[in-house]
């Protein structure tokens, strides 16, 4: 596994450049300082409101900043990685449609990412996106939503989209919980975890959702975590690039709602936990299965080529029209009055 890009100095510079994107600086809220042990410690109010520029600010809707994400949320990391991925790939955001569902993770691109955005009903983002992509095969259609949305209420759409293999890109942000509604058990909550609706511990088994998508036929399937920001960014690029249904499960921390009952309220500790539990798929090959029980296998799980659904639709239209054109040539073109007939 390559960690080479962690040392990329350009990345760190990008966070505090005075150069910016030429626009108005954005007012930065004062969140204070978060101490890993004592929690949020507000320091004295700053003399002047802090403002900041960021070279990726041009990819965001300024008027809705700052984000509504809780302090320590992994959503910001995903948005950051996504903006970097788009920037590095030199994709014009005007060619992107972001489709989202309901839940915290759906807010990552909507409203924050500046592109055409379809914020849909709970669980249906992939289905909406299918309509968009079929009509606009020339656009990048990217779904960012959560585990409750895509693996829970919308799970059926997810596996069918993988089966259909339309050229969609899905980033499933898995924070193991229904966060927006306050911390209820989700289809990915670990066995034995306490949540607000499993106060006596979860007795259901979680989905390994990326494995399911791989089994359902996804063309590119990977799993990373918000700890692995650079690998995630690279994986996002591969997913966007991949022709066919591509899927990245992003394990993410949720110190507020997941932390509420699990005792994992510290985002740093949760990130470290994601790091420590992660094992790269290449390394996992030699590890006996029972030792992988509490581990997260990260990396690219699957990549292969299958006929893409949109191409299939175009092909059948072409085939149908070719067959028809002979008939129409023979019959109608001689009889120009045909256009005038009918009622």
């Amino acid at each position: 596994m390559t960690l080479r890009r962690l040392a990329d100095p350009e990345f760190f510079e990008a966070f505090d450049t005075v150069e910016g994107d030429g626009g108005e600086p954005v007012l930065q809220p004062d969140y204070g300082i978060r101490d890993p042990l004592d929690g949020l410690v507000l320091d004295d109010a700053p003399a002047a409101p802090r403002t900041s520029h960021h070279r990726l600010l041009k990819y965001l809707r300024r008027e809705v900043l700052p984000t509504t994400f809780c302090v320590g949320c992994g959503g910001g990391t995903v948005l950051n990685a996504f903006a970097h991925a788009v920037d590095e790939m030199r994709i014009d955001p005007k060619t992107i449609v972001c489709v989202t569902g309901i839940g915290c993770s759906s807010w990552i691109p909507s409203p924050y990412f500046l592109c055409d955005t379809l914020h849909t009903t709970h669980g249906r983002a992939i289905a909406f996106a299918t309509g968009v992509k079929v009509m606009r095969p020339d656009m990048k259609v990217i779904i960012i939503a959560g585990d409750g949305d895509l693996a829970g209420i919308g799970g059926n759409h997810l596996i069918h989209a993988a089966r259909r293999n339309l050229d969609l890109t899905v980033f499933l942000v898995n924070n193991f919980i229904y966060g927006m509604t306050g911390g209820q058990v989700s289809p990915t909550t670990p066995f034995g975890a306490k949540t607000t609706t499993t106060p006596y511990r979860n007795v259901e088994h979680p989905f390994k959702i990326a494995d399911i998508v791989a089994a359902a036929g996804g063309s590119y399937v990977a799993r990373w975590t918000t700890y692995h920001a650079f690998q995630l960014m690279e994986s996002m690029q591969n997913a966007i690039d991949k022709r066919g249904f591509s899927f990245v499960e992003i394990l993410s921390q949720c110190p507020v709602s997941f932390g509420k009952m699990t005792g994992m309220g510290d985002p740093v500790a949760q990130l470290k936990d994601l790091r420590d539990r992660s094992i790269h798929i290449d390394d996992a090959k030699d590890v006996p299965e029972d030792e992988l029980k509490n581990r997260f296998v990260v990396g690219k799980l699957v990549e292969h080529r299958r006929a893409e659904f949109g191409d299939g639709l175009q092909e059948l239209i072409a085939r149908r029209r070719e067959a028809l054109s002979d008939e129409l040539d023979a019959g109608l073109r001689q009889d120009t009055s045909a256009l005038e007939t009918g009622r």
């Binding site: 500046l114 309509g131 606009r136 149908r320 109608l332 045909a338 005038e340 009622r343």
Partner: protein, 389 residues
């Protein structure tokens, strides 16, 4: 950036060929062909009796005109994709029956809230639940009106013949575009499976209501009663959400005035166009004290009964609302002017009867019939005779 090129001339030639033939087809098939003539280029659906033939004809015909048929895993996905496709520029539709129509309700509300033009065909069958799956009913009249949650207005059209399935479908797509709203095409299993002669219009005679596109920077969720639209790919970073939103599309769910202004406009744009949307088939009879109001399949035996009653010397008025929602109040009131009694045969336990009662002065006598069996002319004639005595 643009969509794959459409071959308009080819499509017109193909439509001309369809228009040059006489068809002997079911209402379902006619509705599908009507949609093709209306310029429908995206269909998302899921099989269900008695609406499956709509999907079958769309699957057969759409590739011929460069359109897309996608069969989904369920009705939730179907309506979702139909709305997504509309924002990507499609004239899109789906077709289902009661159980699937129930599943679609949440996203029909989404289409109302996001002002997405689309057509939803509901070939009504006997319910509730699985009910009499293969048998007709008119039990979704109120579901069409109030099926989704929250305040909203809806447009619903009810055809009474296979020919009307085709003709009205073209109108349905135009209304969807004109008012930027989902339109419910409220068929019933009887009309859906009724095989009749159908003639399709010449492509040159078609005057479609095209989508009104917004100019750059123009807000697409306000500013006028029916705001023009941006589509995806127009470069306008359009933000579409079912949450309460401002005129620019951005979410504002906390400000009472924003919600009030949005929802009142959504209701008013259809409410204020009630007369323009109204299609009512009126056949009054001077001096009649009894009238019959029927719609959909029921209008056929009802009209037969009225004609027979007149032949027997009765004076009987007849009115058939083709537009069910928004309810054509003025036209129905005019048709009922002077009547003492209005008979309303329906294949439900009196859903539209109650709506009519709110608007007319005469006595409304419901003639409900359920069980998957259509009214006979004889039954309605007996009711007319009794009411006119």
């Amino acid at each position: 950036m643009s969509r794959p090129a459409e071959n308009r001339q080819f499509t017109d030639l193909y439509l001309a060929r369809l228009a040059g033939q006489e068809h002997f087809i079911q209402g379902d098939e006619a509705a599908a062909l009507g949609a093709i003539f209306a310029g429908c280029n995206f269909f998302g659906g899921y099989p269900i009796t008695p609406a499956s033939e709509v999907a079958e004809v769309m699957a057969r015909e759409l590739p011929s005109v460069g359109g897309y048929y996608v069969q989904f895993e369920d009705e939730l996905a179907s309506i979702s994709a139909v709305i997504g496709a509309a924002w990507a520029g499609a004239r899109s539709m789906t077709a289902t029956s009661g159980p699937g129509f129930s599943l679609m309700q949440e996203n029909i509300g989404y289409a109302c809230m996001t002002e997405t033009p689309c057509v939803i065909v509901d070939v009504q069958r006997s319910g509730p639940s699985t009910g009499q799956a293969t048998l007709p009913a008119q039990g979704d009249v109120m579901q069409a009106r109030w099926g989704t949650h929250g305040d909203h207005e809806i447009i619903a059209l009810a055809p009474s013949s296979a020919q009307e399935c085709a003709d009205l479908m073209i109108r349905a797509f135009d209304l969807a575009e004109e008012y930027r709203t989902p339109v419910i095409f409220l068929m019933d299993g009887e009309i859906g499976h009724l095989r009749e002669r159908v003639v399709l219009p010449s492509p040159k005679s078609l005057r479609r209501t095209e989508r009104r596109k917004a100019s750059p920077g123009q807000p697409v969720f306000g500013g006028e009663a029916v705001p023009p639209m941006h589509e995806f790919g127009d470069g306008e970073n359009v933000h579409v959400t079912g949450s309460t939103h401002r005129e620019d599309g951005l979410r504002d769910v906390q400000t009472a005035e924003v919600h009030d202004r949005l929802v009142r406009r959504l209701v008013a744009k259809i409410e204020n166009a009630r007369k323009k949307i109204a299609l009512v088939d009126i056949d009054t009879d001077d001096g009649a004290s009894v009238g019959v109001l029927a719609y959909g399949a029921t209008a056929r035996p009802a009209k037969g009964a009225v004609l027979r009653a007149r032949a027997e010397g009765h004076r009987v008025g007849f009115v058939r609302p083709v537009t069910i929602w928004p309810f054509p109040i003025d036209e129905i009131q005019r048709a009922c002017d002077g009547l003492q009694r209005l008979l309303v045969p329906e294949m439900n336990l009196g859903q539209l009867s109650r709506e009519i009662e709110r608007h007319v002065d005469c006595e409304v006598i419901p003639l409900p019939k359920i069980g998957g069996v259509i009214h006979t002319s004889r039954e309605i004639l007996a009711a007319i005779t009794e009411a006119d005595s």
